[in-house]
């Protein structure tokens, strides 16, 4: 992987995303959601997208805005239904979007597997439930497991707290969530950060995502939104 590019705008950061791409989008609710990159993706115009994310959007911002713009064919997520997920709910009920519900830990581990070069793995989550129907199972040392396959992205859109000019990343509090895993699981990882610092300014012991996983970085204004919006 060549060195990460430091770009001047979110619009430059999302260039080249093709129709039909699979996009991994970080965030748990609004925490860690890469708003600026999603807004830029809406302007960029790519459509027929498959989105992998924990939720299916809140209110009419971020991921919800991308859905509302009609750019998403399918969502893989663990928890689409929230108090303010009405954009997704309406699209789903109208049959205008596909949904694959994945247990949250499987969502994370399947992306981890993709990033780590694992072909598939046996997981105890979901054994005997509707979400394991039709999947291969195996009993190992007396316990039942379900075969789960990796989820790989063409692009990952991630929000981090701070990057150095190499692309090393640190995150902030629970906004970290899926970011480090998604960064490993996509062909091209695009990161928005609140601050870019000089090489050497981050403590090497504290770096969460090493630069090798990061392809494009853009610094964005810190976004302020209401607490109510995060519920």
């Amino acid at each position: 992987m060549s060195r990460a590019q430091l770009l001047d705008s979110a619009d430059e950061a999302v260039t080249g995303i093709e129709d039909g791409s699979t996009i991994l989008i970080g965030g748990f609710g609004l925490a860690g959601m890469p708003f600026d990159l999603i807004d830029a993706l809406i302007r960029q115009g790519a459509t027929d997208l498959t989105v992998v994310a924990n939720n299916a959007g809140n209110g009419e911002v971020g991921l919800a805005a991308l859905l509302q713009a009609g750019r998403v064919r399918k969502v893989l997520c663990s928890f689409p239904r929230q108090v303010d997920s009405y954009v997704f709910d309406e699209l789903y009920r109208a049959g205008r979007i596909e949904l694959e519900v994945v247990p949250q830990g499987n969502l994370a581990e399947r992306m981890r597997a993709a990033g780590a070069g694992i072909g598939a793995f046996f997981c105890p989550t979901g054994v005997g439930t509707p979400l394991a129907e039709g999947k291969e199972t195996r009993t190992i040392e007396g316990r039942d497991y379900v075969l789960e396959y990796p989820i790989k992205g063409d692009y990952a859109l991630v929000s981090a707290y701070r990057a150095d000019a190499m692309g090393n990343l640190v995150y902030r509090r629970t906004a970290r969530n899926f970011g480090p895993v998604m960064a490993t699981a996509a062909t091209t990882t695009i990161v928005q950060v609140g601050e870019v610092v000089p090489i050497g300014a981050l403590d090497p012991e504290a770096i969460v995502t090493p630069s090798i996983y990061v392809d494009r970085i853009v610094q964005v204004e810190a976004r302020h939104y209401t607490v109510e919006g995060a519920r």
């Binding site: 925490a31 860690g32 663990s78 247990p103 949250q104 994370a108 581990e109 005997g128 629970t174 519920r231």
Partner: protein, 220 residues
């Protein structure tokens, strides 16, 4: 885990009282995940002396209480619980990414997880993620991972549905979250241990054991 107190209350417990009962039963120093909904109330009854460390699936150990503006907390949208409500840190807390958070869970490192339920079977099958009704949008979140992960999985629920039917049943009719995963049920009418030998009643509230067994269709 403390031994059964065998206590019997003269009336059915409120969910808040039940949360206090569960908090009392969580061993000192346990690492605990409290599911979304009623189980989050348990946190209000844990004492500092218990030294319980709360895990939240979105990547934190040592989660503190809900942030409140009137207490002068900084409301921080980057720091939420699994229900996306802002919370505060406790000393010694740590953050980690989602794959680590669920590895912690699936790997059997958590001592106790307390979940809500639609139905629990006598053999510990859990149904708490989908009503199975057509038209409902399915959403599982971390429920299936939590159900099979912790060393002890407790359920906190009302014992009877609004239509009066028991929620502790011979076999779940709703879609399963996990098979044979629940070890204890805390309910407003009593506390039950689910064991290979059958259902044991630890405590009853507002009803005697004989009547409770009759209403649940339990033998003897």
């Amino acid at each position: 885990m403390k031994a059964s107190t065998g206590s019997t209350s003269g009336r059915v417990l409120t969910m808040d009282e039940l949360a206090a009962v569960i908090a009392r039963d969580i061993a000192e120093g346990s690492y605990v995940n409290l599911g979304i909904g009623q189980p989050t109330k348990i946190a209000d009854h844990l004492t500092p002396e218990q030294g319980v460390v709360l895990h939240t699936e979105n990547g934190m150990l040592g989660m503190g209480r809900k942030a409140e503006e009137r207490l002068g907390d900084v409301i921080d949208a980057d720091l939420t619980n699994a229900g996306k409500v802002p919370v505060v840190e406790t000393p010694g807390c740590s953050y980690f990414h989602h794959a680590d958070s669920f590895a912690m869970m699936r790997g059997g490192h958590l001592d106790v997880c307390v979940l809500g339920a639609f139905q629990v079977s006598r053999t510990g099958d859990l149904a708490n993620w989908s009503t199975g009704r057509p038209g409902d949008i399915p959403a599982v979140g971390g429920a299936m991972d939590l159900a099979i992960g912790a060393k002890d999985v407790f359920v906190m629920m009302t014992l009877f549905a609004k239509d009066g039917s028991p929620k502790l049943v011979e076999a779940c009719t709703m879609p399963l979250t996990g098979v044979g995963c629940v070890s204890r049920v805390y309910s407003d009418h009593g506390v039950f241990d689910l064991t290979p030998e059958g259902v044991g009643i630890r405590e009853t509230y507002g009803v005697d054991e004989f009547e409770l067994r009759r209403r649940l269709g339990l033998d003897g």
